[in-house]
């Protein structure tokens, strides 16, 4: 049994603002929920399944369900895998719908790290690894820098090649009026930006933004009655990548497993993908994912991206046409939600005109949560146009 074609994304909504000074986090969850349901032509009263992750304030999915008045829920899921959570949620929602557990699933993400910066929750002292990592001062950027350094060592990847990823994202962001960084940048500008944790420069890093987004995943019979064009869920895969009892390998991600699982379920190959949303917490995150998903040979990602492959609409693998986390937004430091939303836009033909991929039929979404420098969790979706 597979989920292929057994669930549709009927609604997708991205919060328009990048700084939201006068709202609560719950309020922004509500705004994006209503936005996605309106996009689908549904209402909160139709929702019978709710999905959220660690950004949802309160007690798992229950506090937000209560706040929203989701009185008809018969399915909840608060899978927390960082930025990949929402990509996984779509797969979980499709599986629940395919087995008749629910018909209308709502997924929300929201947060305000710009307006209401709170100290990063220190990794719990109760985490079993805490004593062996936290005292040495690992930060998010520096752990991805360790991955970048090792990839460079093994494969000859260069900082200029990583910069090409940012350059492509910035080329796309210029067409997104809401993007935080709309000015196209050059490879040299990336390399000249301040070093944060070498080899990663400031412009190798994503932005920090308030915001959020929501999705509505529905059963095919629900989709058939909606006025709006929907998007078919064709395949899903996920996998944590662990530290292997002290034999960590920093050169690949869990997408080496989640990707093939998603492709197999969808019955497509990397060559069939017209557009890819690839979580871009850092440039190295994209580079490793492209290799791991099979868009190029392992270790050849640098040459692949430096060749303009990522540029929409005519590159070999147009990616992150909203500007991605590198240029557009990165609500709550969790990029999976906006990645799904932009893939839905592409499949509906509603991306910004200059970056709309012509005849976009198959899209891939890849999320990665946690840290490439330690333990992480990948989730991959294959989505198809309504007639796919």
């Amino acid at each position: 049994m597979t989920i292929r074609g057994k669930a549709h994304i009927a609604g997708a909504y991205e919060h328009p603002d990048r700084k939201i000074p006068d709202s609560s986090i719950a309020q922004v969850h509500a705004e994006v929920a209503l936005g996605a349901l309106a996009d689908a032509g549904l209402s909160l009263r139709d929702v019978d399944a709710y999905f959220c992750a660690g950004d949802a304030p309160g007690f798992g999915p229950v506090s937000m369900a209560d706040y929203l008045g989701l009185a008809r829920l018969r399915y909840t899921d608060s899978t927390e895998t960082g930025g990949s959570s929402y990509v996984a949620h779509v797969g979980h929602a499709a599986a629940a719908i395919a087995t008749g557990k629910c018909r209308v699933a709502l997924i929300t993400l929201a947060g305000l790290p710009r307006s209401q910066p709170v100290p990063r929750p220190s990794a719990s002292a109760l985490a079993p690894e805490a004593g062996f990592e936290q005292p040495f001062g690992p930060t998010t950027v520096s752990m991805y820098a360790l991955a970048a350094r090792r990839h460079m060592h093994e494969y000859g990847t260069t900082s200029a090649q990583l910069a090409a990823i940012k350059v492509a994202a910035s080329q796309h962001a210029q067409h997104n009026p809401r993007a935080m960084l709309r000015k196209p940048v050059t490879v040299d500008e990336v390399l000249d930006s301040p070093m944060i944790s070498d080899p990663l420069h400031r412009l190798d890093c994503c932005v920090i933004s308030d915001g959020g987004g929501a999705l509505v995943v529905v059963a095919p019979e629900v989709a058939a009655d909606l006025p709006r064009q929907t998007v078919k869920v064709l395949g899903h895969g996920e996998s944590p990548k662990l530290t292997a009892g002290g034999r960590i390998d920093l050169t690949y991600t869990g997408a080496v497993w989640s990707g093939p699982r998603a492709f197999t379920e969808a019955g497509v190959t990397p060559a069939d993908v017209d557009y890819a949303s690839i979580y871009d917490s850092f440039t190295i995150t994209v580079l490793q994912a492209i290799e791991d998903l099979g868009f190029c040979e392992k270790g050849k990602g640098g040459a692949f991206v430096a060749d303009g492959a990522l540029l929409a609409p005519h590159g070999r693998l147009p990616f992150n046409t909203d500007g991605g986390g590198l240029c557009n937004n990165h609500p709550v430091n969790r990029g999976g939600m906006t990645k799904v939303i932009e893939a839905v836009r592409q499949l509906r033909g509603e991306a910004s005109a200059p970056v709309q991929v012509p005849d976009c039929e198959i899209a891939l979404v890849n999320g990665n949560g946690g840290s490439l420098g330690t333990r992480s969790a990948a989730a991959t979706l294959i989505l198809g146009r309504e007639d796919a």
């Binding site: 936290q134 001062g137 950027v141 520096s142």
Partner: protein, 140 residues
Amino acid sequence: MTTPGAALPAPAPAVNPETTQFWAATAAGRLLVKRCQDCEHLIWYPRVICPECSSLRTEWLQVSGRGSIYSYTVNHRGEGAYQGSPPFVLAYVELDEGPRVMTNIVETDDADLAVGLPVEVVFHDTGAGPALPRFRPRRS
């Protein structure tokens, strides 16, 4: 043998009953890993269960404290205890015995840093009992 943390902060680690012996050994200048008595895997970070074969028959083993850099970065933006610190080196060191451990590289110029550089352990006193196993370029 332990030395003061010098320029780098040396925050105290979280210690629990599973790791008490490890940290007690650091105070005496000894680096331990866990060894599985069934499959002989050397386990890092230390824990009771062997993640390779699921055995609970694991024991402490003192290692040489010698290894080489697997990856490193000079972090210019410390957080937490390291906020405001001068740039410092975060690294994975591959011990000669196999495990790759997160650590800092100390007593080095950035220009000397390289993947593969031979290093040896030094222990920096946290002032709370445990000492942090950090590594410096090998001198012998």
